[in-house]
Amino acid sequence: MVEALYWIGCGLTLLGALLTVVGAAGVLRFPDVYTRIHAASITDTGGATLLLLGLGLMSGLQFATLKLVIVWAFIMLTSPAAAHALANAAYASGLTPWIGEFRIIKGATPDAKKTGNAS
């Protein structure tokens, strides 16, 4: 049982690491700030959750597991807030979201500022 949990933990850790790499690729490859923030927050939430879950399963139930839970709780609190702040700052400084094909299909006005202002 313990052995099985250990290996499941290993698998989850690996999956988390994979998601982190995917997120990093997204940060590098995505076209503008907002999409990149989106990719980065995948790393923060999805990647970190899987990693921490995997580590918790690997270590078994002990004091360190509690610390992992607390770490997870903090990441859940802070990283969306940080992503929000980043996006907000980008928006406030006048960066318009890149919306690509969407604009052409809908035939919307080319005034990107207006379309971007969804909120």
């Binding site: 609190l77 802070t78 807030a81 702040a85 907000n88 700052a89």
Partner: protein, 365 residues
């Protein structure tokens, strides 16, 4: 070289990868001309460095590097480019020749020296076999702290740490002397102008809620780090920086003005000086009670320590002595970091536009 060092292999690979990342980051920092990019890369550099330090078993140093290098340094650097400009001028090839030669001389000397440096991880090298091992063997009896780094930092080399605290204090003095305590931001407010570089977000509900939730937790964590230093990584320095981060977060979300009314610049300055006095005062107390400077065995007046519970097994003097000086370090570091932040953040953009500083009487040479 087989045998013990074979065990190193996985660690050696991680070590190598992280070090190569450091070199790559350094090259990137050298190449970019945009200062904002350079500063963010510097933050990444510090984080990679912190991870590498953890691999090297230097948990305390890694902690410090993470909070200082990736945290405070980045904040200070960002504060500085807000007040200056964000693109460096191009460098001509000619301007690189003299520095290049100087660097090559230093590099040559380093290569020369590296040939006779001990193998990496060698447990029998003089560095690892002599005084360092002595500390590991004697901390249990001399001081009784589980974290040997804290024992060395607080007691064996406590005088260095006093010097370190003084350096921080001096830096606070220096920044305050150069940039003031942010009083300009306060007077701007009185004149009805807000400093531009403070995002007092009235509408940032998410951030305000998060900050209200986090600030008490950050302070709590700072205290945990402070008092856990005996047993694990941590201590006054890291705790002080974390404490200051709580205040900086408050300023970023609720506005510098509100923070300056909560933690007055004059109070921060006084606390910084007080921390140094606490540290040195502990040393003087030991002298008064018949020991030498910073000899915590004489922290209590003669006879008092024996009456403390379980005195035979606990080295109460050392224990409380380290705790007291760490408190001094906490006060100075936290207050200085806050002072430094006030100095940079309180320098409003209007000040930048006016050529000439506040105590410039005239500027022709």
């Amino acid at each position: 070289m087989s045998g013990p060092l074979a065990m190193l292999d996985v660690g050696a690979i991680i070590n190598g990868v992280l070090l190569v990342m450091l070199v790559v980051l350094m090259c990137a920092i050298a190449r970019v001309r945009n200062l904002l990019t350079a500063i963010l890369l510097m933050g990444v550099y510090s984080l990679v460095m912190a991870v590498w330090l953890t691999v090297m078993d230097a948990a305390d140093v890694a902690f410090t590097e993470a909070v200082v290098g990736a945290g405070v340094s980045t904040v200070v650097l960002l504060g500085a480019i807000l007040l200056t400009r964000s693109e460096t001028a191009a460098i001509s090839w000619k301007a690189m020749i003299a520095p290049g030669l100087a660097v090559l001389v230093v590099g040559g000397l380093l290569v020369f020296a590296a040939q006779d440096l001990p193998d990496f991880g060698d447990p029998a090298s003089p560095a690892n076999a002599y005084v360092g091992k002595l500390y590991l063997e004697m901390t249990g009896g001399d001081i009784g702290a589980a974290n040997v780094v804290t024992a060395v930092l607080g007691s064996y080399r406590g005088f260095d740490t006093l010097g370190e605290t003084t350096v921080i204090f001096a830096a606070g003095l220096g920044v305050a002397l150069m940039l003031g305590f942010g009083e300009r931001a306060m007077s701007d407010r009185e004149r009805g102008r807000m400093p531009v570089n403070v995002s007092a977000g009235e509408d940032h509900v998410v951030l305000r809620v998060m900050a209200k939730l986090l600030i008490p937790l950050i302070v709590l964590y700072a205290f945990y780090v402070q008092f856990h230093g005996d047993l694990g990584p941590g201590g006054g320095f890291q705790a002080g920086v974390i404490m200051a981060v709580a205040v900086i977060l408050h300023a970023l979300v609720f506005g510098l003005d509100a923070t300056m009314h909560a933690v007055r610049p004059g109070v921060a300055r006084a606390i910084a000086a007080l921390g140094v006095l606490v540290y040195a005062g502990v040393g003087i107390a030991n002298i008064v009670h018949g020991g030498t400077f910073l000899n915590y065995d004489y922290l209590f007046p003669p006879g008092v320590e024996a009456r403390l519970p379980d005195a035979a097994h606990h080295n109460w003097g050392q224990h409380f002595g380290i705790m007291a000086i760490e408190a001094g370090v906490l006060l100075t570091v936290a207050a200085t970091m806050i002072t430094v932040f006030y100095g940079f953040a309180g320098r409003s953009a209007e000040a930048v536009a006016v050529v000439g500083g506040d105590d410039t009487h005239g500027q022709n040479p």
